[in-house]
Symmetry: C2
């Protein structure tokens, strides 16, 4: 797939999902929110694949279920009304990709945000679950109270990952107003 448009973080993030997720993949949407990424993932993994979707908000799970039903794609998606922090209680199988959208639920309760400590717990568990060459994509919104603290903690953690085991790439728009979100792409190395 080619893209000529970089545009913004959301289009870039969608583009990355399209590049990395293939038919038959087992993937996780750690923060389903309004279900947009879950829908994209459920199309990309195909009927042989599987999407796990977490959200701590009932509202998010309900919206996402509705969106998937409307698209006849709920059969390949397992929605979990719980925190992604407990990912290891629900998933034991090796994962091809996991995506996080850190911040708050758009159009939801802005008091409910992801927090540094639970995010780091979840990320470290998820990195364990990743297959070799597996990908973690983190979109980090920082414009809300607590957003910057989460970013700093996350970068400190990611910056310390062993470069023999993981490649950690951070991408950000330099000339956009209003603190545009950042994208972190973490690739688990193969043992070869």
């Amino acid at each position: 797939m080619r893209y000529k448009k970089i545009r913004n973080t959301i289009s870039l993030s969608k583009d990355l999902l399209n590049r990395f997720v293939k038919d038959g993949d087992i993937v996780v949407d750690a923060t389903v929110g309004n279900g947009n990424d879950t829908l994209i993932l459920s199309k990309l993994v195909g009927s042989r694949g599987m999407v796990y979707g977490f959200d701590i908000q009932e509202e998010a799970i309900a919206r996402t279920r509705k969106l998937l039903e409307e698209n006849n794609l709920l059969d390949r998606v397992y929605l979990i009304h719980d925190s992604h922090e407990k990912i290891d209680e629900y998933i034991q199988e090796p994962l091809d990709l996991i995506v996080y959208n850190l911040g708050y639920l758009p159009r939801g309760d802005k008091r409910i945000i992801t927090r540094a400590d639970s995010t780091l717990t979840s990320v470290s568990k998820a990195l364990e679950l990743l297959k070799e060459n597996g990908i973690m994509l983190i979109v980090s919104y920082i414009g809300h109270p607590g957003g910057l603290e989460e970013k700093i903690a996350l970068e400190e953690y990611l910056g310390r990952l062993d470069q023999g085991q993981f490649n950690v790439l951070r991408s950000e728009f330099l000339n956009q107003k209003n603190m545009p979100p950042l994208i972190y792409l973490i690739e688990k190395s193969s043992k070869e």
Copy 2:
């Protein structure tokens, strides 16, 4: 094209060239160095395309000419032994892509480096020459004396570009030792 490997800045930069350059394109390698990017570009633009290659060092031009001759691709490449700062004296036609490798020539004289003032002059001229949806790719090495100063000046300039006219994305590896190079991807917006 899919890639599963992010690996490092050089592989990422090659990957980006592969994504953005297509048959028939008119492109510029502002700093040919050992000719690696020039060779990649000359293959990607095909027989209908055109590559302009600049370098201020005779040694770099000679190495690149030899590499292209060995690959029978010199016919579509115009090598210019001069500074990319004078790009507007050599090129008037609209460009699809321009790539810079900022720093010093690998295996060459490490006293000869690109410098902030000439880089910014060149970049501003090249952004004018870019077509709508055209791409500028800058790989910035910062581990040498003067490298950090050039990076700071470049980011100050790029960060001020009008977000209605350009999308400026910076990518960097967070967990690599020895100051890995950064990648800047600048996309000129279309007027639509």
